[in-house]
Symmetry: C2
Subunit: 134 residues, 2 copies
Amino acid sequence: MSYSIAEVAELTDLTPDTLRYYERDGLMLHPVDRSATGHRRYTDGDLTWINLLTCLRGTGMPIRDVRRYAELVRSGEGTEQARLDLLRAHRVQVLARLAEVQEHLGAIDRKIGIYSAKLEALDLERTPGASVDT
Amino acid sequence: MSYSIAEVAELTDLTPDTLRYYERDGLMLHPVDRSATGHRRYTDGDLTWINLLTCLRGTGMPIRDVRRYAELVRSGEGTEQARLDLLRAHRVQVLARLAEVQEHLGAIDRKIGIYSAKLEALDLERTPGASVDT
DNA sequence: GGTTGACCTGGAGTGCGCTCCAAGGGCGAG
DNA sequence: CTCGCCCTTGGAGCGCACTCCAGGTCAACC
C-alpha cells in the first residue's frame, strides 16, 4: 500500500507543505519514495513514523530534537540507549510542563469560580423570586 | 510597597524586556507608574495582575487574547460575563490540549517501555549470571 | 492539441513572542 | 568631575515552525 502526499496529509492532519518541510529538514527516516513522475509515494512504514513524529511534536519536542532522534534511528543498532535517553528526557520535560499548566489552570479555575459567583449573585438580585437552588 | 522593573523581573521570572513589552502591547491594566526620574514603579496590584497574565500565558493563551481580557477588565463593570466567557473558552481549549498531550505522551511511554525492555534484555545477555530481579 | 489538476522544487514570506540594541538621562560613590 | 549603574525609548532582529508562491513537469480527459 502506498499513498500520495494529499492522502497522507488527510490521514495525519498535516499539510502537504508540512510533510515536504519535515522531509527537507531531516525528520523522516529516509527520503520518501517517488513514483515514475517524481511524486512522493508514502509507505505504511512512513505513516507509522509520521505518527511518532506527531506524538513528539504534539508534546512540544522542538524540531531539532526530533531530527536528532531520527538521526539516531537512522544510525541503526547501538543507538538504542541514546534514543531511550532522549525519550526519557523529553518525558520528564513534558511531565513538568503538564504540572505547570495544571497549576496555572487551577488559578484560572478559581478566577472562573469568582466570576461565576458574582454573576449568579447579580442574576438573583435581578430576579428576586427565583429559587436559590438553580 | 513598590518595585523596580528589575525586582519585578526577579519576582515573576520574566525579563525586564518582557515586562516592558507587555506594557507596550496593552497587556497591563494601566501604564505602570513612574518615579520622578521616569523609572517604572510597580505596585502590589501590578504584581497580582502580572501573576494572572502568567497563568494565562502559561496555559498557552495567545497575547492577543490576553490583551482582549485586559481590555475587558479595563472597561470595568458590565464586562464580567464577557470575561467569564473568555476564561471558560480558554479553559476548554486548555483541557483539550492537555488531553491531547497526555494521549501523545502515552504513545511515547509505550515506546520507552519497548526500548527499556530491549536494552534490559541485552544487558542480561551480556551478564548471564546477573539476577533477574534488578 | 489544449486544458485541468496533482504534484514537483527552491526560495521567500509570515506570525508569534520575545530579545536585543543604540543613544541617552539621572544619580550616588570615589 | 567622572565613572558606573540602572533605567528610559523606539526600533530592529531573531528563532521557530511552518506557509506560501512562482515556475515547471507530467498524465488524463475532452
